[in-house]
Amino acid sequence: MGKQLVLFTTLLLFASGGWSETNIQTVSENIYVFSEIDNQGLIVSGSNGTVVIDPISEHTAKSIQEFLSVNDKNAVSHVVYTHSHWDRISGGEVFQKNGVKFISQETCRLFFEGNKNEAVVQPNLYFKHSYKIALGNSNIGLHYFGPSHGECMIVVHIEPENIFFVADLLSTNGPSFPNDPTLPYLRPATLMRFFSGIERMANQDNVNSFIGGQVEKNTFGSIEYIAKQREFWKLVQATAEEAEEKGNVNINNFIDMEKIDLEAFKQFNNYNEEDLSNIFRRYTSFLNMGR
């Protein structure tokens, strides 16, 4: 068992004139979680620099800048984008100066270059599989396991705390139904590869907990939730496959819910039958299309 991290300080910063607030919590000596409305990212401050993971917005980026200054931390040296979604990664311009690296997985380039947003600083460093940031007393590993939530979401491994940061697909409250049952970004074809990749890395490195990208009751989630969340998606796919085989799918690709045993799904947080119907709909499409 690894060391259990303890939440011990809370700072609250208000933006001048802004309606929203950025909440910054201390997680360990070098790690801070910041949040704005539903989204949260991380600051990892080391002896050689500071990494911001998903700056969220200009407002939050300014709050982070102020926080680092007030607390006498190193200036931002790296900004990491966990994936390409603007609602997580806008506002990096606040940190933009010579030498600051904006890092993203290579596949995100499709969206960054194909659909530009002035609020998002374009990455100046792309990686394919893994990338390591050394901050002296901290190391940050960036790992890509294939399309999962969108095409380019990565998993961040922070040492020596030995925790993961996973921006989406996992809830620190436990294995759950997804927030959006229409699954706009889910990549079913490679989803299992993503989960097995994280699980493998967690086993190798004895990682015991993760922090998620959404504000939730628990800051940390048990690493066991990853396998359980994988089981959720496996169950969804197996149920959709069975419904296809038995001819229980209508012309609009919806499964006849009355012919499904829903019991196994009720163990997951936020169980909702209507949501499940929409989740199945995405999977019957996937089974037809392969994508």
Partner: protein
């Protein structure tokens, strides 16, 4: 003489008014099995002396019979391909030279082995090949030829031009142009008779929304440049309301523009709602209640529109 004059005048009128006479497909073979109503399980229609459309259930491909052989497109599935193979042998004894894939989705492109066994070469965009490596399917024949921007396959005087305009519906869909007929085909979208018809998959799974409008603008540009007047639909569609199914085999190439407008209308409408300060969660209900697009989208379906509005809202917030 009078008849000739009349035909000439009508032709001039149609030319001036911008209308084009569409080919009238003629059914040359059909299943004895009924799918429902008067609709047969499958049918083959002849569109021009060398161009044919093959519909199996709601899906459609087309094929060209040239001097040097046959170009097929999207085999659909094993059963559909097997039937097509049998029927093809009744139409021609020319060899099947090529099978062209329109995109990577299995429901359109499975079952090609029966043509591979006859020596056909399979052609697809490079990214389709990557998709099939990511998620292999034994029923999908891997391509022999891949390309990145444009590729043309020919069987004598006939050719099929394949154009890639970036990701759209999946990441490798190509626009197909049949020559010398000057007829286009864009799988899963732009189905005659109307590109403003309510779409089937409102969740836009595996769709790169950011490039949909640019994709159709490129298709429109090509249609204009190559003087395309006709499009073949890859799916059956409906006329005026979803209960009134029609074959949709061919229609005006204006359907391409209508399809672009469909996506533009939805994206712009959601953006306006967000600009008005409607929260992301409220957008679908707000737009349904306000009746937005009710008069523009043919076969408007509230439950589908709610899903579509939600998907577009997510796109405008995240960029994906």
């Amino acid at each position: 003489m009078l008849n000739a004059l009349r035909i000439g005048l009508i032709s001039v009128f149609l030319l001036v008014s911008g209308c084009a006479i569409q080919p009238v497909p003629k059914t040359i073979a059909e299943s004895e099995i009924t799918l429902f109503g008067n609709l047969k399980l499958w049918e083959i229609e002849q569109i021009s002396p060398h161009l044919y459309a093959y519909r199996y259930t709601f899906y459609r491909n087309f094929f060209l019979i040239g001097e040097e052989g046959v170009i097929l497109t999207d085999p659909l599935n094993q059963e559909a391909a097997s039937i097509l193979n049998q029927e093809l042998s009744k139409i021609t004894n020319k060899p099947i030279k090529y099978v062209a894939y329109s995109h990577s989705h299995w429901d359109h492109i499975s079952g090609g082995q029966v043509f591979k066994d006859q020596g056909a070469q399979f052609v697809a965009h490079k990214k389709c090949q990557e998709n099939w490596i990511d998620n292999p399917n034994p029923n999908v024949v891997k391509p022999d030829i891949v390309f990145e921007e444009e590729y043309t396959i020919s069987v004598g005087e006939l050719s099929l031009e394949m154009y890639y305009w970036g990701p759209s519906h999946d990441n490798c869909r190509v626009g197909l142009l049949i020559q010398p007929d000057r007829i286009m085909f864009i799988a899963d979208d732009a189905n005659p008779p109307n590109g403003l018809n309510m779409i089937y998959g409102a969740g836009l799974a595996d769709t790169y929304i950011y490039n949909l409008v640019p994709f159709f603008l490129e298709a429109e540009k090509l249609a204009k440049h190559k003087r395309v007047k006709t499009i073949i639909g890859s799916h059956m569609s409906f006329q005026d309301n979803p209960m009134n199914l029609v074959s949709g085999t061919v229609g005006s190439s204006n359907v391409i523009k209508q399809q672009r407008l469909f996506y533009e209308y939805v994206i712009d409408t959601v953006q306006e709602a967000l600009d008005e300060g409607i929260t992301a969660k409220e957008v679908p209900d707000y737009l349904i209640q306000s009746g937005a697009l009710k008069n523009k989208i043919v076969g408007y379906d509230e439950s589908k529109m709610r899903v579509l509005y939600r998907r577009i809202t997510n796109f405008l917030i995240t960029g994906e």
